[in-house]
Amino acid sequence: MTEYTPHLTSQAESEKREPNYLTVFGALALITLIEVTVVANLPVARVPLLLGLSAAKVLLVAMYYMHLKFQSGWFTAIFLLPIPFVVLVTLILSIALAPVAPAAGSAAAFGVCSVF
């Protein structure tokens, strides 16, 4: 294999811009290990902790591997733009698709279910 002159950036420039990817990978692996071995077996506060750790992993990947930390703020804005939609869809579908016990099921809940 041969070497060639890259299109855009010199070696020094690209080295200066790059984060330590190995450290990021180590952090991602460590968080996953903690999730699986410790947090998933906790008797309380399991779900919020798992969601928090997942969010931390997503942020690490987006900021360092996808370079959001080093690029235009427009890209971060576009990445965050669908989040309200995500929350809305999750809430609506969680309510609409949740099993409703006949005795406890309110008319409102039944109405939402029948719409979907």
Binding site: M1, T2, E3, Y4, T5, P6, H7, L8, T9, Q11, S14, E15, E18, Y21, L22, V24, F25, L28, A29, T32, E35, V36, V39, A40, R46, V47, L50, L51, L53, S54, K57, V58, V61, A62, Y65, M66, H67, Q71, S72, W74, F75, I78, F79, L81, P82, I83, F85, V86, V89, T90, I92, L93, S94, A96, L97, A98, P99
Partner: protein, 271 residues
């Protein structure tokens, strides 16, 4: 307009010359999907898709040295696409959350958490090798680029194998698309798996360009010699690998990784 004038016009506004290749790729992808329902169409779709990809591989990549409005337009396009993907997967995940408690059996006891933890590590590793491939291309190291792309492909394929093992295990326990839980589970993980497959095809395409660039630059590896003999190419500026293409692929691949991070938590850990 003469071809010379047309060429200088496109150079002036930084557009590639007109090409039928994107249309062929889109048509091939459509036929491929139809082919899953009508099997005779499948090989036709595959051939059209591969022919379109081959034609695209022969077109020069447009470098992003002169972005419009201060924002790199190709990266902007990819981020908009990823935003639409976030909405797509959020619908699937929300549906899964709605149906997760609708199984007739205790599915949580059937899920193979250790196996899919291994799958998660494999996919995280593939993200690492993908970003290291980008680092290699920025430094102009073709050999490292080739090796890291191959590693990423191998890890992506290994993840798919692990996912298939899990699917087979669950199907063996009666969790199929005929159940509410099964349909939500297989649709969500299936669409993620399909994204992994698309990523693998994209990687194969990038690897092809890398090997061709090596051949054009006078590389002495057996593959480079084979490429040179087949294509009889001379080195040109267009054959130099472009980091921008790999960066776009990297965004897609890391997004697929992000989706799995969320799916793993929702499906396997929040039980």
């Amino acid at each position: 307009m003469s071809s010379e004038a047309r060429s200088s016009h496109h150079e002036a506004i930084h557009l590639p010359p007109p090409s039928i290749a994107p249309v062929l790729v889109a048509l091939g992808a459509l036929l491929l999907v139809i082919g899953f329902l009508l099997w005779p169409v499948l090989p036709v779709g595959l051939i059209v898709l591969l022919f379109g990809l081959w034609k695209i591989s022969r077109a020069p990549e447009i470098p992003l040295e002169r972005p419009s409005m201060g924002v790199n337009s190709r990266l902007l396009g990819m981020w908009v696409f990823l935003a639409s993907e976030i909405m797509f997967f959020s619908g699937l995940i929300a549906t899964f959350l709605g149906y997760r408690n609708r199984a007739d059996v205790d599915v949580n006891a059937l899920l193979n958490v250790p196996l899919m933890t291994l799958g998660t590590f494999v996919l995280l590793s593939s993200s690492f090798t993908a970003v290291m491939a980008l680092s290699a291309i920025r430094r102009g190291k073709l050999k490292a680029l080739r090796n890291r792309l191959l590693m990423t492909m191998g890890l992506g394929a290994a993840f798919l194998m692990i996912e298939l093992l899990e699917w087979a295990e669950l199907a063996g326990h009666g969790i199929t698309t005929g159940t509410l839980y099964g349909s939500a589970f297989f649709t969500t993980t299936g669409f993620h798996g399909m994204h992994v497959i698309i990523g693998l095809v994209w990687m194969a395409f990038l690897l092809f360009r890398t090997l061709r660039a090596d051949a054009a630059a006078g590389g002495d590896s057996p593959l480079a010699r084979l490429f040179r003999r087949l294509a009889n190419q001379e080195a040109t500026a267009l054959d130099r690998p472009n980091p921008d293409g790999l960066e776009l692929f990297g965004l897609y691949w890391h997004f697929v990784d992000i989706v799995w991070i969320i799916l793993f938590t929702v499906i396997y850990l929040m039980v």
